[in-house]
Symmetry: C3
Subunit: 275 residues, 3 copies
């Protein structure tokens, strides 16, 4: 199985799938292709939260503002999962989670050692490896020309023998990215908004346990009920919940929390419990 | 085969797919994940219209404004199909259609008897069944924590032996939902808009047969040609057609009917034929 | 394998997939269902660019402003690929590319000879073949009622024996569509915008080779750097690149080119190199 995640929108992911289908018969599962554009941190959050529900698989993830620069391409082995991605921190949080306490192993992709992607029929000027030129065929779509062929090759190799792949070299140094953590001091938690989801729910980085045994909370000076479910308050009313990722969320029942709280990703959130 | 339908947007359905892939090798087919948010009636319409084209399958459908309240979770057996959904009427119309005159059988899901969902790695506070706590791990994402594991278990069981599943109990009483029907009185039909589709076509509940042998019709006092196809009128012009669901639709050729007619779901529609 | 592409949005493609799943166990891959509505030229471009990365497959493509008129339905054999589509030029560019110099063979679909689509359960007035009426069940959704059953039947037939299918008749005349080509005269290229992609990148029809060995270019009188990658300029700055399709693109690093250049599909683009 190969999962695919990106900020590519449509129809670019279909070109990646073509490359994968041409090289493997792996089952393909789309995670999302509408991650906020070039927002590595938001995508890192979603990958960490969603891929933790998958059985061992190859995960192809591309949010890549540095495409075509000298940022590397990497494969990370985390327990029985392999993750193929740009080396920009994107997959570090999910890799740590999937490794679940075991060591991560990272490999750098040598682009020039990958079997190149050759579409059918003439294309105006896409560089062909037949020209003796090395590396991916284009500088702007490595999802198709570099990451997809790498993922296909990884899929065809038993996970415990990745080091035998000629285009992979072990590395001890890949870019790190830590999602911010909240600070809890007595009855106050100082955190921030990690992401706003498609429903408008404001997902903070304050652990849900902060709400335990409390019926009300103050969030950025707004007094709120704590609800187990959205339906704990009337339609259109604000509340705080423990969301499906285990963090405190600021929501509106059947409405949009980010509008009602005027909060967006990265904003500071101060929660206060009354004692 | 398991079909998936929801109003979850992205990337939440991918977490459901992870749970399904971890437990079965069922083929997964997305019906839609962009149903109008928390609009049970609109989703009930689309499920009834779309799933009727599928071979026997497990259908997982979640539009669930009452998530986390005491609304039940159900499995409905309709001929050789099984439908897993919240008990809020959502799947009653499609179940009736798939049963095609045979009896429906409904089961209530005992959440505490389901094998719980355990993501890999630590999550801040998601409740774990290891704590001895029963029921789904979260109160706000039953699609992942309750409906997906139920659908996976149903998929692994022959359809005729669903009653042997330890988490299912037969019930005679599930929530009903009837899509409204139009009233036809001579040359007048009084109905309403069931949904507006993504093209802007206004889908009413007046059977298409009402247009038979008529070249023109009045819809809410607007005189219109009746066309077999959108192209029966010039680009940008209004018309009435028999849509692909068999109902009268109010459309604009290559334009948006809901704007041209100023109609939205639930609005009253009066059609008059001249004799 | 059957690929699916359309401008249907959601949830209509799911009805097509139901018909396909009921008749074949083919692997289904979505190319895109959000092509610009009824824009045959834009979809023709994307199909040509994306399907070239696929192994031999059946490709079902529907962008069909003339649905229900007397425009024909066709199957085109291009090397080991078969394409099922309306006869409106949509698939001519991709068919030429997939044929890669070999002859194309085209067949007209005799709608009355196709096994009709029968959904489960009663539908208000959808025409049934049981009534002795021929042709697709509806006039407005041939994707479901005509193209999907044709694609399923083509999938079940070895590609080299398509002519044995009772509903196919060879034809020498299908509608042509040529994507416009740019004119290069010395240091000037006169072309046009083929499409704007979801990132806002303005994809012209000027071959990327026009930029070779140049560091700067004038595009519609705007002086621009030529970059290998978006990151060659600061965030928010404009540049010209050779895009992933091999054409000159007008882009903004992490921004929207179509807004910065005030250009949309079909607009004239004049590129000038300084010597």
């Amino acid at each position: 199985m190969i999962t695919l995640a990106s900020d590519f929108g449509s129809p670019y992911p279909a070109a990646m799938k073509g490359v994968l289908c041409a090289r493997t018969d792996a089952r393909l599962i789309d995670i999302a292709h509408d991650f906020p554009r070039q927002d590595v941190r938001a995508a890192a959050f979603w990958l960490r939260e969603v891929l933790a529900y998958y059985p061992p698989a190859i995960h192809l993830a591309v949010v890549d503002p540095g495409v075509g620069t000298d940022r590397g391409a990497i494969v990370v082995r985390a327990d029985d999962h392999a993750i193929v991605a740009p080396d920009n921190g994107l997959v570090r949080p999910v890799a740590r989670r999937l490794a679940d306490g075991r060591d991560l192993e990272a490999f750098v992709v040598d682009e020039t050692a990958l079997e190149s992607v050759e579409p059918t029929g003439a294309s105006p000027v896409v560089r062909s490896s037949r020209d003796g030129d090395d590396g991916p065929a284009t500088n702007t779509f490595h999802g198709r020309d570099l990451f997809a062929p790498a993922a296909a090759a990884v899929h065809k190799t038993p996970i415990e023998t990745l080091e035998t792949l000629p285009f992979l070299e072990p590395t001890g140094a890949i870019v790190d990215l830590e999602l911010p953590t909240a600070t809890i001091d007595g009855e106050q938690a100082i955190g921030e908004v990690l992401v706003v989801d498609g429903f408008g729910n404001v997902i903070t980085n304050v652990p849900g346990s902060f709400l335990e045994s409390h019926d009300r909370i103050r969030a950025n000076e707004i007094d709120l009920p704590v609800g187990k479910t959205f339906a704990a308050v009337a339609v259109g009313e604000r509340l705080a919940t423990v969301g499906s990722h285990g963090y405190v969320e600021l929501d509106v029942n059947q409405g949009r929390g980010e509008e009602a709280f005027e909060l967006t990703a990265g904003d500071r959130v101060v929660l206060e419990r009354s004692t």
